[in-house]
């Protein structure tokens, strides 16, 4: 059952990055667009993401719940030492969700729309940055456990681990990944006129991903972060990132040819490769503290808990996935199905 639980954990993490990430990315793309372009983007985003926009964000709740039930030690470290960036990410999630519904469900469409729009866009930018920073803090290696350092000051314990160049760079990198996903996703939904614009956006997003990714590696290398040093000497990680980079060529071709199914599949696969590379370096020692790595698979919940969790997840999955699939199909969100007809 442990493997079932792990599978659900990995799948919900991946789906949150992919779907939630694309949602955040849509707001980021909107934020960095000219006023003329913002209107059509807003409309497209609403049309395609409306029906699923809340479902996309439930993956993070599933993720958190699995973490706290099955991996309480890891969860405990995360919530104690990353209290501040997680609270800020939460602020972003709250404002984004609220602003989305406000801007589409306000009975009177007036001046207030401007406020909702900027709130939505800014929240879409800061949330992935703080989520990325939180992940960054876990691999930076500056988390000092209070059990070992009882006299630690506030700044050293709760701020320094995430508020420094390396995790911030990872946060920005993640935001760029989100905008990349959104831009590729939106290409498939746009009409001919808008398509050109989204292709431009996708190009900018790809460039930012590459540039920010390089910055992450340079900072990590200069600061001698174990994560980066081990990353560049890990064959699998390098291979995964290399393949992901090479896939940009077919991605580019599919975008040009208007092959929506393949370009989405490729973009998703690229993200999966990058996540795989980041996870494989130290797995299962995901969290790197100042005093060593924490084994993710140690101190897990007792077997009885894992079994019940596994069964609940399977039942939940059997109930949810057909519904979700049908939802996506009904609103023509799975392009592969449409082309069959």
């Amino acid at each position: 059952m442990l493997y079932v639980v792990l599978l659900f954990l990995v799948v919900s993490f991946f789906l949150y990055v992919l779907l939630g990430g694309a949602d955040f990315g849509a707001g980021i793309v909107e934020l960095f667009s000219s006023v003329d372009n913002q209107k059509p983007i807003k409309k497209t985003v609403y049309n395609v993401m409306g029906p699923v926009w809340e479902a996309n964000h439930i993956w993070i709740i599933i993720l958190i719940v699995i973490l706290w039930i099955a991996f309480p030690e890891t969860y405990n470290v995360i919530v104690v030492y990353l209290h501040i960036p997680l609270t800020l990410a939460l602020l972003g999630i709250t404002l984004r969700g609220a602003a989305f519904i406000f801007r589409h469900y306000d009975a009177i469409k007036g001046q207030s729309q401007k406020l909702y729009d900027s709130l939505f866009r800014i929240a879409c930018l800061i949330t992935p940055i703080f989520l990325g920073m939180s992940f960054g803090a876990l691999v930076t290696g500056d988390i000092k456990l209070l059990e070992r350092n009882p006299d630690l000051g506030f700044y050293d314990a709760y701020v320094h681990p995430w508020f420094q160049a390396f995790p911030i760079a990872i946060g920005c990198f993640f935001a760029a990944l989100c905008s990349f996903l959104a831009a590729v996703f939106l290409i498939g939904e746009a009409n001919a006129d808008e398509k050109k614009m989204y292709i431009k956006k996708a190009t900018v997003a790809i460039i930012s991903v590459v540039v920010l990714g390089t910055i992450v590696l340079i900072i990590g290398f200069v600061q001698k972060r174990d994560f980066v040093l081990d990353f560049i000497s890990d064959v699998y990680a390098i291979a995964a990132v290399g393949i992901s980079a090479l896939l940009l060529i077919p991605l580019w071709k599919t975008i040009r040819n208007g092959n929506v199914v393949w370009c989405r599949f490729l973009a998703g696969f690229q993200i999966a490769l990058i996540l795989f590379a980041a996870a494989i370096v130290h797995f299962p020692m995901v969290i790197q503290t100042a005093s060593g790595r924490l084994d993710f698979m140690q101190n897990i919940a007792p077997e009885s808990v894992i079994n019940v969790l596994g069964i609940s997840l399977i039942i939940g999955g059997l109930l949810i996935l057909p519904g979700l699939f049908h939802l996506l199909k009904s609103f023509r969100m799975i392009k592969a199905l449409e082309q069959d007809h």
Partner: protein, 432 residues
Amino acid sequence: MDNLDAARLQMAFTLMFHIVFACIGMVMPFFMVISHYKWLKTKKEVYLTLTKAWQKGVAIFFVTGAVSGTALSFELGLLWPTFMKHAGPIIGMPFSLEGAAFFIEAVAIGFYLYGWKNLNPKFHWWTGVIIGVSGVASGILVVSANSWMNAPSGFDYINGQFTNIDPVKALLNPAWFTQALHMVLAAFASTGFAVAGIHAYQVYKGNNRLVHEKAFHIAIIFGGIAALLQPLSGDLSAKDVAKRQPVKLAAMEAHYHTEKGVPLFIGGIVNEKSESVTHKIEIPKALSFLAFGDFDAEVKGLSDFPKDERPPVAIPHYAFQIMVTMGGIMAFSALAYFISVRKRNWWDRKWFWLVFAILTPVGYIALEAGWVVTEVGRQPWIIHNVMRTKDAVTPMPGMIYSFWFYVFLYSILTATVIWLMRRQIKVLNATG
């Protein structure tokens, strides 16, 4: 204020908001599908207008409920990491099932909101029913996790270690049924009265009477039935608490000294220092009867418990009085409504609508007061007789800033939601 109090305040504050949003999100879908059903059956335009107006309300409250719920799933860990480290695995089952129920609700709401044009009308209507059913299921599951804190079960606690964990037993802990029943009825009663009240006010003002009157009747029938059933469920809860958490019952009733044939206090001012209650009305032997079904039963008083295991007394006592008063008012008004169905000329009187308009907030006041009773009454424990709240709180200092941050954020959200609702009503009135 110390860190613990700030963290408790923050939790209380965010839960206070979430509970209202969540109740509306749980109950309004039922009103919506009734109206929708009538539209499908009668094809009267007024029901379509109403369904669409309520659907917007459902969407707005679903989202505010969802984001404030996401916030809580973070906060549980951020504020109470030690609690979650030990209790998380034990009460994981209701939370994982709740996650599933919530997911189903989100999928159903996607279908419902966006499915007016291209879904089969019957299928479309059923997705609305699923929103409501899965919402109620979510509510029951979350309350089950809370009731576990009152009636911890499904584990052995040996030398500070939680062993032999049985998640199913923890889910079906001894308090889950009474608490879940009380909460579901409370959700229907409070939301029924609130929605009915808002529409009653519009009838009172003479706006688009056709729509608002229909809306009022749908909401008040749900709210009224729940309000009439609630005292029975309250009785079950009281008897359960008397058995399992006698110290909580003693605090609710401000009952200090163990006696037989104990009177029930109505009102009264609690003096926690001198351990006395003044200015109260006493009903002889009533507490013994309500708690144990026997006028001469012995009821344990607070002084039987060590000082460091007693909850605050004044807060639960006052909150309990408020809850019962509001509940009584609602049950009484519900009765009045069902009489008015026979005496329809009441509906032509302005005062009828004014009374129900004034009753808009009573359900939520009762709801919040009830949660204060159960949560403050559980102190100083976060897990009854197992873990103290002060041992569960985050080691991170400065929680008071976090508290103010949440106050600021939630106040803005609430103000915006109220403003949006007013705009919805404005537009709805313009259609008539």
